[in-house]
């Protein structure tokens, strides 16, 4: 005897119900179709992070330039007892 769940009318009814449920579900926000589990939306604000990153960039350039300046050849005087 055929199992009840595999009979054609029930299978078709199940497929129809699944399709109806899928159509009612909200579409993913991301155009590329990221799964719904992934948070969606736009980050608001965050300028503090932007300023912090730009400050790191500027500070890196400035401090490295300063380190090159202080280490430049001839910048440090010879030790006191080094003169002939």
């Amino acid at each position: 005897m055929k199992p009840f769940l595999l009979s054609r009318p029930v299978l078709l009814l199940s497929l129809w119900a699944a399709r109806a449920l899928a159509e009612e579900a909200p579409a993913p926000v991301h155009p590329a179709g990221i799964e719904k589990a992934v948070p969606s939306g736009v980050i608001e604000g965050g300028w503090g992070y932007v300023y912090a990153a730009y400050t790191v960039a500027l500070a890196g350039l400035v401090f490295y330039a300063l380190s090159l300046w202080t280490r430049r050849p001839g910048a440090q005087p010879p030790p006191p007892g080094d003169t002939p």
Binding site: G41, V42, I43, E44, G45, G46, W47, Y49, V50, A52, A53, Y54, V56, A57, L58, G60, L61, Y64, A65, L68, R71, R72, P73, G74
Partner: protein, 253 residues
């Protein structure tokens, strides 16, 4: 970005360095011009990145970190590529000049890399919710930076200049293995970090600002390499009473 973008940047950096060393008349002014133009370009980058560029579609204004984070990391990779080039050149034909250039590019690469990682961490907090994640891209970048910090530490601890040059050249080649892993990590593994941006994924205005930032940092990279090279050469002169042009060549028995 097109796949050839990093190679084009590397070619420009290499061209500037080769011109500086091969054409003596450019040595006095080219690095100064590079630094001055870099300062002007940096001022414009602040305007372009913070005001002119549009907000990113999902990250909004936080996406503006892109214009300093990516150029810093690219300069790090260019510096390390120049470094490994010098290391190979030194092993093929021993020269104090290539050794000094290797030292300077390694230090500058670490500086740019550390800045890039720090900015990436700041960027990760509002987008990923964490300052740091044990992600393939982040781990490989940390390993790469640590290997070059070790390279610099080895150079500072070793007294004998010849041994220092030879062994650090070998260490440089070993350390450079991590660079392609960093580059391709976002493609090879399921990384939280996004894959490299392409011309299709970046708005034209954003693309302009990112390139402007990259060219700006390239000017600084060149000026830094020239000045750091002078420091390395000066230290070589101090270490060797009469610095020869090249270390001793081993004579075949």
């Amino acid at each position: 970005m097109p796949f050839w973008s990093p190679l084009a940047l590397l070619a420009v950096a290499l061209g500037l360095v080769i011109t500086h060393f091969a054409v003596p008349t450019t040595r006095a002014w080219m690095w100064k011009a590079s630094a001055v133009v870099g300062l002007g370009a940096l001022a414009l980058l602040l305007y372009l990145g913070l005001i002119w560029a549009p907000p990113e579609a999902f990250m909004s204004d936080v996406g503006r970190i892109l214009y300093v984070h990516v150029p810093f990391v690219w300069m790090c990779m260019i510096a390390f590529t120049l470094n490994v080039g010098c290391a190979i050149a030194y092993l093929m034909k021993k020269s104090w000049r290539t050794d000094a250039l290797a030292e300077s590019t390694a230090e500058i690469g670490v500086m740019f890399g550390a800045g890039g990682v720090l900015m990436g961490s700041i960027w990760a907090r509002p987008t990923w919710g964490v300052w740091w994640d044990w992600d393939p891209r982040l781990i490989s970048t940390a390993v790469m930076l640590l290997s070059y910090v070790g390279y610099l530490a080895f150079r500072s601890f070793t007294e004998d200049p010849e041994r220092r040059a030879t062994w650090s050249a070998a260490a440089s080649i070993l350390g450079y293995v991590s660079l392609p892993i960093v580059w391709f990590s976002v493609r090879w593994w399921n990384s939280l970090h996004q894959v490299q941006s392409t011309s299709q994924s970046l708005d034209s205005q954003m693309r302009i600002v990112m390139w402007w930032g990259t060219v700006t940092m390239l000017f600084f990279l060149f000026a830094f390499v020239v000045k750091r090279y002078e420091i390395a050469r000066s230290r070589q002169s101090s270490a060797l009473e009469a610095p020869p042009e090249a270390p001793r060549q081993e004579v075949a028995a």
